[in-house]
Amino acid sequence: MDITWGASVNEIAWGGIIAFYLFLAGIAGGAFLTASLTELFSKKQYPNVIRSGAYIAPVTIIIGLGLLVVDLGRPLTFWKLLLNVNFGSVMSIGVFIISAFSALAVVYAYLVWSAAAAKKQIKLASADEKLTALPEVVATSESQGLQVLRKPVAILGALFSVGTATYTGFLLSAVTTSNFWHTPLLGIEAIPFLPILFLVSATSTGIAATLIGAGNSRDLTSYKKIDMVLIILELVLISVLYLSVDPIFFTGSMALPFWFGVVAIGLVLPLLLSIYSIMKHKNVILPVSGLVIIGGLCLRYFVVYTGQLFR
């Protein structure tokens, strides 16, 4: 661009990497929430769901943090974020929320994994009667001791996963100079819109990822129903958003990611498929979950870009 005569264009500070990070943090939060709430509140046993969610959370959050660090202008100085704290900055607070969440996600995944491994060993041992499995019994009792931590970690982690999912919204909504990011819910200045939208989307994509990981081992109807409710809720939120901000945010290069990615692929299509599956008793977990996840990524991409392109 010619700096004297060229029209000045809004520069994009945060691009696709940040959008992908916000998306992964959402999946991590949602997956952890799915696993921990299942463990804490479900009467039915869903071991595959718990395992899937517990493993997805640390993997996605760690990849996400890696992307975040790579996107820094000075990746090797990321540790300064831990030393120089500004409590007035949402990002600074978020560093600690996400660090705590990552640690809890890793611990929880380890506890779930070690319990599952111990179970397997007991099975193996009892199958082979001659092997009295002395070392295994010792190992089992040791990890059993750690299992005392599992519930507290699940509870604390559930809180921090909600914190992580909403944080990704607060990060953007705190930018008061961006009309789009700073949009309040229904014009109520005290309630920012994005944290709510991102929490719903995070839970929805987190459940979707967890269901894909869980495979079709058991009847997952209740999860499908929850995801459907979340899709409808998100559709309502997106409609509210569409009506409460300047239409320019959905135009130009943002029209395709919004209408095709967020609305069609991410919401309408999976909703129709879910309704169809309930009516016809067909199993469509994989396509529905896949579409929800792609839609979640499109949502982060759309929000991150449009808030910077038009201001």
């Binding site: 700096i3 004297t4 005569w5 060229g6 029209a7 000045s8 809004n10 520069e11 500070a13 945060w14 996107d71 820094l72 202008g73 000075r74 100085t77 990321f78 300064k80 974020l81 120089n84 704290v85 500004n86 007035g88 900055s89 949402v90 990002m91 600074s92 560093v95 705190a174 930018v175 008061t176 100079t177 961006s178 808030g307 910077q308 201001r311």
Partner: protein, 181 residues
């Protein structure tokens, strides 16, 4: 700083002086002075140049979002970036409504106009852009001091801040007298 647009001839001496003074990487600018869109038909054709740089907000969004306090106010209320503390997260760049900030290609830290604080102003001199300005369009001084040249000038002319609706309260004022907006 006061920018008297009617006196700016778009010569870019400020752009060049800034690059000399501050060793800004190629293709990046702490200040630039692009033209406005050419408007109107003969005989009422108008065009002017508008100097862009950090607006030195009193309520700076870059300072409040910065996670490491690298963006800060110094003792004179000038918004500065502590390069040692900056990790290059670019949060401030998303928050700045004036596009005044960029990621320095050489250091990876965020950078912007400093009013030449360390190199000039703290020694009692004027910023490089001001002292080089050919048309005399730039006036620099302490707006808290009613006797300063800047305060005196602003008292007589109507200064406008950019994007006042955002509540950032810039300390850089533009005077549109004599130009067609």
């Amino acid at each position: 700083m006061i920018i008297n647009l009617a006196k700016c001839i778009g010569c870019q001496a400020c752009t060049v002086a800034c690059k000399f003074q501050n060793n800004v990487p190629d293709g990046q600018y702490r200040t630039k002075t692009p033209s406005s869109a050419l408007k109107g038909t003969y005989p009422n054709v108008s065009q002017y140049f508008i100097k862009e740089a950090c607006q030195m907000c009193q309520n700076a969004p870059c300072v409040s979002v910065c996670p490491t306090k690298a963006s800060h106010y110094n003792e004179d209320g000038v918004v500065l970036v502590d390069v040692d503390k900056c990790v290059g997260c670019k949060y401030c760049m998303t928050a700045c409504p004036y596009d005044a900030r960029f990621l320095n290609k050489a250091t990876g830290a965020v950078e912007k106009c400093t009013f030449c604080y360390e190199l000039k102003v703290s020694k009692g001199e004027k910023p490089a852009c001001v002292s080089t300005c050919v048309g005399g369009a730039l006036i620099f001084g302490d707006l808290n001091d009613p006797a300063s040249e800047a305060s005196q000038f602003l008292a007589k002319h109507k200064g406008e801040a950019r994007k006042p609706e955002l509540g950032t309260h810039p300390d850089v004022y533009y005077i549109y007298e004599g130009v067609v907006k």
